[in-house]
C-alpha cells in the first residue's frame, strides 16, 4: 500500500510537464490580468504547481508547506481585496466584479498588448537564462520555472502600483527563488521558514490592500471613536 508521501512523490514525478505548463501559464496570466477575482484563484493553481515541482526534490510532505502557506495567504488577500472593493463600491468607484462584467474595451486591448509584449520578452529571457545560465543543482524544467516566476515577479513589482499586484509580484518572486534554492539546500527548515515568510508577507500586503482602498484599518477602537 502506498503511503501519502510516496503517492505525492509519484504524482510529482508524473506531472512534471503539466506542472511546468501550469506554472508558465499562471505566471503569464497574473502579469496580463490585473483583476483579483481572476488572479487569486490562478495563483492557487500556481502554488500547487510549485509544490509539485518541489516534491521531487525533497520530502514531499515538507513540499506541501508551500501550497498550504500560499493558499492561506491568498485567502487572506482575497478577504482584504473583497473588503477594499466593498469600501470602493460604497464610494461609487469601479470594483473588480464590475470590471469583469463590463470590461473597458477602449483601454483593455492597448493594456493587454503592452503586457503581452512584456510577457513574451520575459518568457524568452527565461528560456534563454535556463539554457545559458543553468542554476546549480536544478533540472532544466526547474530552472525555467524559477526564472519565469522571478522574471514575472520583478515585472509586476516594477510596473504595478496597487498593493495587491505588487504583492502578487513579491509572492511570485519568493516562489521562484524557492524553486531555485531548494535544490541547493533541500532542508525542511529552510522550506518551513520560507513558508512562514510567505505568510508574513501576505499579512503585510493584506494590510496595504486595505490602506489602498482607504478602508478603516485602525485596530485601535480609541482612534475610531475620536472626533
Amino acid at each position: 500500500m502506498l503511503s501519502f508521501a510516496e503517492l505525492l512523490r509519484q504524482l510529482a514525478e508524473g506531472a512534471v510537464g503539466p506542472s511546468l505548463v501550469l506554472l508558465i501559464v499562471s505566471a503569464g496570466f497574473v502579469v496580463l490580468v490585473r483583476n483579483w477575482r481572476l488572479v487569486l484563484p490562478v495563483m492557487v493553481l500556481q502554488y500547487v504547481a510549485v509544490g509539485l515541482l518541489l516534491a521531487r526534490l525533497f520530502d514531499p510532505i515538507a513540499a506541501l508547506f508551500k501550497p498550504m502557506a500560499g493558499s492561506i495567504t491568498l485567502i487572506v488577500l482575497s478577504l482584504a481585496a473583497q473588503r477594499a472593493d466593498d469600501v470602493r463600491a460604497e464610494r461609487g468607484e469601479s470594483v473588480a466584479r464590475e470590471r469583469l462584467a463590463r470590461p473597458n474595451w477602449q483601454r483593455l486591448p492597448a493594456q493587454l498588448l503592452l503586457r503581452a509584449v512584456t510577457m513574451a520578452l520575459v518568457l524568452t529571457a527565461a528560456f534563454g537564462a535556463a539554457v545559458r545560465f543553468p542554476l546549480p543543482g536544478g533540472t532544466r524544467e526547474l530552472n525555467l520555472g524559477a526564472y519565469m516566476l522571478i522574471g514575472c515577479g520583478l515585472i509586476l513589482m516594477a510596473t504595478a502600483y496597487e498593493s495587491l499586484n505588487v504583492g502578487t509580484g513579491i509572492l511570485m518572486l519568493v516562489s521562484g527563488f524557492e524553486l531555485a534554492y531548494v535544490p541547493l539546500e533541500p532542508s525542511v527548515g529552510v522550506s518551513a521558514l520560507l513558508a512562514l515568510t510567505t505568510l508574513l508577507i501576505g499579512l503585510a500586503i493584506a494590510y496595504l490592500i486595505l490602506a489602498d482602498a482607504d478602508a478603516d484599518i485602525s485596530p485601535d477602537p480609541r482612534s475610531r471613536s475620536a472626533p
Binding site: 513589482m157 502600483y161 498593493s163 505588487v166 513579491i170 518572486l173 519568493v174 527563488f177 531555485a180 534554492y181 541547493l184 539546500e185 532542508s187 525542511v188 527548515g189 529552510v190 518551513a192 521558514l193 520560507l194 512562514l196 515568510t197 508574513l200 508577507i201 499579512l203 503585510a204 500586503i205 494590510y207 496595504l208 486595505l210 490602506a211 489602498d212 482602498a213 482607504d214 478602508a215 478603516d216 484599518i217 485602525s218 485596530p219 485601535d220 477602537p221 480609541r222 482612534s223 475620536a226 472626533p227
Partner: protein, 519 residues
Amino acid sequence: MIPGAPLVVLIPLMSGAAIFVLRRWIRAEAVVAALLCLLISALIIFVPTTPLPIVPGANVAISLDAPLEVLGRTLRVQPEDRALLGLLFIAAALLFLLSWRVPQGSLFVPLGLMALAALVAAPLVSPFLYAALAFEAAAAFAVLMIQAERGGERSTLGALRYLIAVTLAMPLLLLAGWVIDSASVPSPVDAASAESTYGAAAILLLISFGLLLGAIPIFTWIHPVVHDAPPLVAAFLTAVGIGAASFLLMKLLQAYLWLRLIPLFSQSLIAGGLVMIAFGGVLAWAQGSFSRLLACAVFVEVGCLLLNLGSASQAGAEAVAFSLPARALALGTFGLGVWRLRAARNSDDFVAVRGLRDVWGGLALGIGGLSLAGLPGTLGFVSRWLTIQAYGLSDPESLALLSFAQISIGVGLVRGLSAMFQQSDPELVGDLSRSETLDLGWANRIPVYPARTPATAPTVIGIVGIVNPLSDVLSRLRQQLDERLPVAAGAVALVVLGLWPEPLAWLAKAAAQHFLFSP
C-alpha cells in the same frame, strides 16, 4: 541550562504580542517597552559569562553564550555580540521613550518590539543564512508600522518600497551563504585566490547589504519611507534596522578573512559611502520639506556607516557602534519636530509651516538637525569625529566632501527654520483656522493648534458642559508638559551626551574590542 539567545529574541517578541493584545488597557505602553529594552540591554551587557542560576537550589541556570540548535542552525550570543545587541536595545528604548505621548500609530510600540526581536535574531544566527529570513520578518512588521493607520491611493509607496527592497535582499543573502558553504578553498591566503573562490559571494553580499542599507539603488526606500511613515517609525527603521544590518556586515567582515582580502569589497563600500554622502550633500540644502531634509541626512549617515565598514578597522567598528544610539537620538528628536509640524499643519513642507513659530518644534528640529549636521557640542559631532578617525585623515578630498554634506544639511535646516519663524501667510492661516481636525491616521486625529500660538494654547474641540477652571488649567499644563517633555529630553540628551559622551563611548569601545579584523 537555558541558553540566552532564545530569551533575547523571545522576550521582546512575546512582549510585543502582549502589548498588542493589552494595548487598550496599557496607557504607558511606550514606557513599558523602553524599560523592557533597557533591562534586556543591561542583562546582556552585564550578566557574567558563567551560568547564572535563576532558581536557588535547583539546577536551573541561564547561560548567555550557550548555543541553541534551531532547524540545523545555531542561535548563540557570542562575546562580540553582547555590546552590539545592548546598543540595539538601547537605541530602540530611546525611540520608544521619545514616542511617549507622541502617537506614532497605535501599532508602533508592539510591532516595534516584534521587529526588534527579528532584527536582533539576525546577528545571532550562525552561519548567517537565516539572518535573511529574520530581516524579511522584520520588514513585514515594519510595513504595518510605516503605513500606520493612513489610507488612500498611492499612500502605500513607502511601505511597498521597503518590503520590495528587503525581499530582493533575502534571496541574494541566502545565495551568498550557499556560495560560501560550497566553496572549494576554505581559507584563501591571498587576494587572487579569494577573488576567484569567493568573488560571487562578495558581489551578492554587496548588493544585498546595499539594498538593506538603502544604498542600492539610491532613493529606493529611504526617501519614500521617511516621507510616508510617522517620523519616529522612520527613525526606528533608519537607526535600528540599518544598525542591525551594519552589525551583521561587521561580523561577516570579522569572520571571513577572504572578505577583507578581496579589494573590490572594501573599495565598493567606500565608494558607495562617498556617493551616498555626495548625494545627501548635494540635495540637502535645496530640499523644501523637513522630511526630505531628514532623508538626505540619513543618506549622509549611511554614507559614514559604509566608510567605517570599508575601513575594516577597530576604530571603524567603534564608530559604527557609537553611531547607532547617536543616530537614533538625533533622528528621533528631529522626528519629534516633524511630528509637531504635521500635527499643526498636516505637512512639514517649508511653505506650509511658514509662520508657525512653534518654539518647541523649532527646538527639536534645531538640536536634532544640528546633531545630524555634526555640529560641535552635539552627539552627532562625536559620531562624525570617530568616522574621520576611522577613515583616516589622509584623504582630504573625502573629508572635504563630508564637511560639505554636513554644511549642506545645516543650510537646509536654517532655510526650514527661518521659514517656520517668518511672518505667517494670512491666506494659509485662514485656511487652517477654518479646518477642525486634521486626519493624520497615525496621530489619532490630533486637535489642531491655532496657527498663531501653536504650542501654547491647544484648542480641544468638542468640550461640552461646564469646565472646572482649576482642572482645566491643570489638564492644560499636563498636556503641555506631555508634549514638551520628549522634545526637551531629546534635545538635552543630544547636548549633554555631545559634551560628555563617555557612557556611549564606553559601550562602543566594548563592542569594538572584539573586532580586530586580523586573521
